[in-house]
């Protein structure tokens, strides 16, 4: 794709070195997301899609794109779910942005909080548990998103994960020799024949974080910059810095990681994920590969403290 209008100032340079003006960049971005949805069959002709909305730039860009795409699909319904973990000085800001965006796009928003659903806010949990903040937050967010999306009769949950997020996850699983977890990555995950596990789709999978931020800025989507106070503490943060250094020195590193991973993913899925493999937690009946799900195990630990 080339920017044909030479008179316009370029606003973005792709990894390939190609310079794009605002219009061409928007076209490039939207086409790439649409291609991902089409090629990986992320959205069926008659489906209810729940968007996991945080109010941050990734999920806000995703909701804006999906609202525009599904407007032309008569039998596809779109709604958003926001999980309020209870992170002081962070979530209240992004929640406001999420509410504003849903109102603007006329998308129904459902909000559920850790405190109301689980009895503790994330801040309260982290005072009691000796676990990484992202582990605790991620476990309960996934748990609630799956549960609530299912109760709201969603066929799929769309996440705003971008190419950077996925490249970080791939490298983290590789460094920790965690092939079981790697098998659950990819553009779409979950197995078709499971009524309790709602499949997860990632339409922004092939778009870099910088591209998503640029799209958000150029189209006035994101609100004020607010970073999660727990972000720096995570192992992911270290991997992010490392990959950004590599990307700067060797452009194309992140997309290279994705391409190589996607070639091996079918083998990983074959080895680690088989139809009928997903069991159910003996306590809450939510899907898990263990006898008792991580959410129930953490809740048990919280009650003892």
């Amino acid at each position: 794709m080339t920017c044909k209008n030479g008179s316009k100032e370029p606003v973005f340079v792709l990894t390939s070195g190609e310079k794009l003006c605002k219009n061409c960049f928007n076209l490039y971005f939207e086409r790439k997301a649409r291609k991902c949805i089409r090629q990986h069959e992320l959205i069926g002709k008659k489906e209810r899609i729940a968007v996991a909305l945080s109010g941050g730039k990734d999920s806000s860009v995703l909701l804006t794109l999906l609202a525009s795409i599904t407007r032309q699909m008569k039998n596809v319904e779109l709604f958003a779910i926001l999980i309020d973990e209870g992170i002081k000085g962070y979530r209240p800001f992004t929640k406001k942005d999420a509410e504003k965006l849903c109102k603007k796009l006329k998308v129904k928003l459902y909000v559920y909080s850790f405190k109301k659903e689980l009895g503790y806010s994330l801040d309260e949990m982290l005072k009691k548990l000796k676990k990484g903040p992202c582990t605790v937050c991620g476990t309960f967010r996934r748990y609630l998103l799956n549960k609530k999306a299912r109760e709201l009769k969603a066929d799929k949950i769309a996440f705003g994960h971008n190419a950077d997020d996925e490249a970080q996850s791939i490298v983290m699983n590789l460094f920790r020799s965690n092939n079981d977890a790697a098998a659950r990555l990819g553009v779409i995950n979950g197995l078709k024949k499971d009524a309790r596990f709602i499949r997860r789709i990632k339409p922004l999978y092939f778009l870099l974080e910088k591209e998503v931020t640029a799209y958000a800025f150029l189209n006035g989507i994101s609100g004020k910059f607010v970073e999660c106070p727990y972000a720096g503490a995570a192992y992911r943060g270290e991997v992010r810095i490392m990959l950004n250094d590599f990307e700067n020195k060797h452009p194309g590193t992140k997309t290279g990681i994705l391409s190589a991973f996607l070639e091996t993913l079918p083998l990983l899925k074959e080895k680690f994920m088989k139809e009928g493999d997903i069991g159910f937690c003996r306590k809450c009946r939510e899907p898990t590969s263990a006898e008792e799900c991580m959410a129930c195990r953490l809740l048990e630990q919280l009650k003892k403290k």
Partner: protein, 63 residues
């Protein structure tokens, strides 16, 4: 020129002839930021002058 860095919320005074030079002086990896000149997103080879209003936006996933 005055440069506002969104991530720290601080404004610094820096002399630089281009976005590239500015990021090098501030020791910022270009992959991690977007640079806005007088309200418009610009590429790394964009020229800068003393009168320009510069904002450096962080490229960070929230979650």
């Amino acid at each position: 020129m005055k440069v506002y860095i969104e991530k720290t919320g601080k404004t610094v005074n820096v002399k630089a002839a281009s976005v590239n030079a500015l990021l090098k002086k501030l020791n910022i990896n270009p992959v991690t930021v977007l640079v806005v000149k007088n309200g418009t997103l610009v590429t790394e080879d964009a020229k800068l002058s003393e009168k320009d209003q510069i904002k450096i936006l962080a490229v960070v996933s929230g979650g």
